[in-house]
């Protein structure tokens, strides 16, 4: 019985780990389907044990706007998991704004528009233009501002964390000037 329980913990944790290795988050619904096939009650019980067992300390949970998600910190950082959650939330404006605010706050730096064309965001140019244009019209996102480097590249910053002058200078440095030195 004890062994069976331990196996279930291991299967659950490995399920999350495998998903993280494949750069996916796990939602509660994923545990209800094959191959795990738990019900709600079992899942709550198993998760409680996972989170209290140091052998599974890498199994983490993170909340999106509509769902809880699981990932393994052995294969995915919290910051990357947050990016995936923002994508799962399918609120592109919020995703761009939160990413920009995060970068303006911690580095600090303006965010290269090209970032959103790379994985995991993978926007096309039209989508990004559309998002930026919508941001300008939403009250919640008035702190998100645009700058342009001398080569035309578009950057975004949050004026909660950076002044416009600072963002303009760093945009030019990141996009143009730093490439003149090595």
């Amino acid at each position: 019985m004890e062994k069976d329980k331990k196996d279930k913990l291991m299967v659950t944790a490995d399920f999350v780990r495998k998903a993280s290795m494949e750069v996916r988050l796990v939602k509660p619904d994923d545990f209800f389907a094959e191959p795990i096939s738990m019900d709600q009650e079992q899942l709550l019980d198993i998760l409680e044990q996972v989170f209290n067992n140091p052998d599974f300390a890498d199994i983490k949970t993170i909340h999106g706007s509509e769902s809880q998600y699981f990932y393994s910190s052995n294969h995915m950082t919290e910051s990357y998991a947050k990016m995936l959650v923002r994508i799962e939330d399918k609120d592109l404006l919020k995703m761009v704004a939160e990413t920009v605010r995060h970068e303006s706050k911690i580095y600090p730096r303006p965010t290269d528009g090209k970032l959103f064309s790379t994985s995991p965001f993978s926007f096309n140019a039209e989508q990004l233009d559309d998002v930026v244009s919508q941001l300008k019209n939403q009250e919640n996102y008035q702190d998100i501002q645009e700058t342009r480097a001398s080569n035309g590249a578009m950057y975004l910053y949050s004026n909660r964390f950076m002044t416009r002058e600072h963002a303009i200078a760093l945009t030019e440095w990141i996009e143009v000037l730093q490439h003149e030195t090595s």
């Binding site: 995915m76 950082t77 910051s79 990357y80 994985s119 600072h166 440095w173 030195t181």
Partner: protein
């Protein structure tokens, strides 16, 4: 020298005037470690003040340190020391090259090669272990570096490492290089070899560097560094793009590898992929610099990333671009960083796409690199293009060039953005053809000759850092007063990356400030980029530490484009690097217990000796107003902004004087003049240097 690990114990001295070849004991220079340290000591002891770079009395020293050839990561740097012809005082400077020359010199049994005198006819120096001879170079004199290297290799053997000059060096062009491996160049001293009629040094070494510790101890330390400490080129420790394993990313990072990015020109394209810390075998995939230096189009031409002996980073892009044959050039091209961008700086009207969409950046850079690498022309860290731009845009060229010469230059190609212009331009420079070729004299000399205006020196457009004619190189844009101080201290562009590697690591400012507090005593040692604060003593400590580590690396010899290991890519270490790693390697390799503090003291000794050499050559102790000077743009850029407000990198005149005073104090130099004091020279074991400066009345 009693046999200890690391050093070979022998220095080769070659007198080209009388052909005498002799051996000396390295022990004499042990306090100066190797490389740069040996070079400075030889120059101070043996080259009289007032000697010019191309005088027979000048010497040139090729030096390596105890870590080179040992297997320590990023350790195959050759340090070349001599008088620098492009400097107005011909003051001492170093040029450095990677490749495998330094390691081969060690394997042949030599810590350094001192070249003195001048030959009456072209020669090359042949070294096969302890068999050393001067050979007739008449067959390769007049040839470019590529052909000369091949011809000499056909005589001594392909396994040899060959450092050669091209036509620019032979013709004593001030801006010329010495190069090994046909793309690893040391800029500035090619003409010194030319003045001595020494075309090349070719070395075949079959020995090994003795390691004092058991080999497993060294392997263990290597493994620690490779798994826990090392990042990508410039010790950038976060990837350029978001990756699941990484907490942070930075669009300026040289950790470029990612899923879907390939060495696309390989027979079977190789995906660079994601290479998190811990997997030693994949460190070499991280720095896929071809696309950073040359643009996305370079991916499909990249055969692989190459680099120096004993370096896992592989920052040297190796490409096959068949279009190069249309310019009469080899399709195989290899270089990195300013080796690509510097020569292309002459294309002042830009380059247009030549063969396919998006190839404009790549074509200009690879055509320029092939030409300058073969002729052996140096770009003065990109400044040759700025010198040319000023003369062209202001109409100076029309005035100073004879009409016939002016009309013979294919300006239409320049205006059209056709890199074929570079074929004509660099030939004139290398062969000293006509008045235009004086652009090869270097910034200071051409500005005097063609009477450049104040707007050249002091304008922000040209980036001339110093009235001595060298450009900014990780200056005030890199760490405010820290970068500015570092850029003032040498006799050419500062080749110091200790500070820049840290500032550019890609980590958030909060982590950087924590590390700054641990290493330099306060988080205030660094500012946010472009959001500066007034000078403080911790910035002076950071600047001093950066320079003395740089001097150490050029003496040990390690690559300062990677070292010091101030940060790490490992989240579990909270991104802390290991600043004692140089000392750990040196202790194992030499068998002597050497602390981080011991090494920093040696670095201070070496840098103070550099300062003493500068004082001696310039004939003044007034370093503050005659040497440590910045052009006005540093203070006057962004006229609508005040210094120390967000969004500007401008410096404040009074604050920089305070910065110099604090820095001199940290160094133990005279706080008024910036010259080394007698007390400091004695404290550093440089009594003989103090005596000579005293006899020359050059002590403060």
């Amino acid at each position: 020298m009693t046999k200890v690990g690391g050093w070979t114990g022998k220095i080769l001295r070659v007198n080209l005037t009388n052909g005498k070849i002799s051996t000396e004991d390295t022990i004499k220079y042990k306090d100066f470690i190797g490389g740069m340290g040996i070079g400075y000591k030889v120059m101070f002891d043996e080259v009289p003040a007032g000697t010019k770079a191309f005088d027979e009395n000048n010497k040139i020293i090729f030096g390596a340190g105890p870590l080179t050839g040992s297997g320590a990561p990023c350790s195959s740097r050759t340090n070349i020391t001599s008088l620098l012809p492009s400097n107005p005082y011909n003051a001492v400077s170093d040029s450095h090259m990677g490749g495998n020359f330094a390691a081969m010199m060690k394997y042949a049994g030599w810590d350094a090669i001192i070249v003195e005198g001048a030959s009456s006819k072209p020669v090359w120096l042949r070294i096969e272990d302890d068999q050393v001879s001067l050979e007739d170079a008449s067959a390769v004199w007049g040839q470019g570096i590529f052909k000369s290297t091949a011809e000499i290799a056909s005589i001594i053997g392909n396994e040899a490492s060959i450092a050669a000059i091209g036509q620019a060096g032979e013709n004593m062009v001030n801006l010329s290089v010495i190069m090994n491996g046909t793309s690893h160049s040391a800029g500035g001293h090619g003409g010194v070899l030319g003045s001595k009629k020494l075309k090349a040094i070719a070395i075949k070494g079959t020995g090994a560097v003795h390691i004092a510790a058991h080999k497993y101890e060294l392997l263990k330390l290597n493994e620690y560094m490779m798994k826990e400490i090392i990042g990508a080129n410039n010790q950038h420790v976060v990837p350029r793009t978001p990756q699941p394993w990484a907490e942070y990313h930075n669009s300026g990072s040289r950790w470029l590898s990612r899923k879907g990015l390939y060495w696309g020109g390989a027979e079977t394209p190789i995906e660079t992929g994601e290479n998190p810390p811990g997997d030693m075998k994949k460190v070499g995939f991280r720095t896929m610099k071809a696309v950073m230096d040359l643009g996305p189009v370079a991916e499909k031409y990249t055969i692989r990333m190459g680099g120096c002996q004993s370096c896992p980073i592989r920052c040297h892009s190796q490409l096959k671009v068949p279009h190069l044959e249309k310019y009469g050039l080899s399709p195989y091209v290899s270089n990195t960083c300013v080796g690509f961008s510097g020569p292309n700086g002459v294309m002042i009207k830009g380059v247009t796409d030549q063969f396919e969409e998006g190839d404009k950046s790549m074509m200009g850079k690879i055509v320029g690199a092939q030409l300058t690498d073969d002729y052996g022309v140096w770009c003065n860290y990109g400044l040759i293009g700025k010198d040319f731009k000023y003369a062209y845009n202001t109409g100076i060229l029309k005035k100073v060039l004879p009409k016939e010469e002016y009309e013979s230059i294919p300006w239409d190609k320049l205006e059209a953005g056709d890199p074929a212009f570079l074929l004509d331009f660099y030939r004139r420079i290398a062969f000293k053809e006509g008045e235009l070729s004086h652009l090869g004299d270097g910034t200071y000399w051409i500005a005097q000759r063609w009477n450049y205006g104040d707007d050249f020196w002091h304008g922000n457009d040209y980036g001339v850092w110093s009235p001595l004619g060298f450009p900014k190189h990780h200056a005030n844009e890199s760490g405010s007063q820290v970068g500015a101080l570092i850029s003032c201290m040498f006799n050419r562009d500062a080749q110091c990356h200790s500070h820049m590697n840290f500032i550019g690591s890609g980590l958030p400012i909060a982590i950087q400030k924590e590390i700054a507090a641990e290493v330099w005593g306060s988080p205030d040692a660094i500012d946010e980029p472009a959001n500066y604060t007034p000078m403080n003593e911790y910035k002076a400590k950071f600047a001093k530490w950066s320079i003395i580590r740089n001097c150490l690396h050029d003496s040990l010899t390690l690559c300062n484009w990677m070292w010091p290991m101030t940060v790490s890519p490992v989240m579990a270490r909270n991104y802390r690097g290991d600043t004692a790693l140089e000392a750990k390697f040196l202790s194992l390799i030499t068998g002597e217990q050497i602390s981080e503090e011991d090494l920093d003291l040696a670095g201070e000794r070496i840098f103070t000796l550099h300062r003493a050499l500068t004082v001696k050559q310039m004939g003044t102790i007034d370093m503050r107003t005659k040497h440590d000077v910045m052009n006005d743009w540093v203070y006057d850029v962004d006229p609508d902004k005040k210094a120390f407000t967000p969004g500007t990198i401008k410096m404040d005149r009074n604050d920089m004087q305070i910065a110099l005073t604090m820095f001199y104090k940290e160094m133990g130099w005279d706080e008024k003049t910036g010259a080394p004091t007698k007390e400091t020279l004695i404290r550093l074991g440089l009594q003989d240097v103090a005596n000579e400066l005293e006899s020359l009345k050059l002590l403060p």
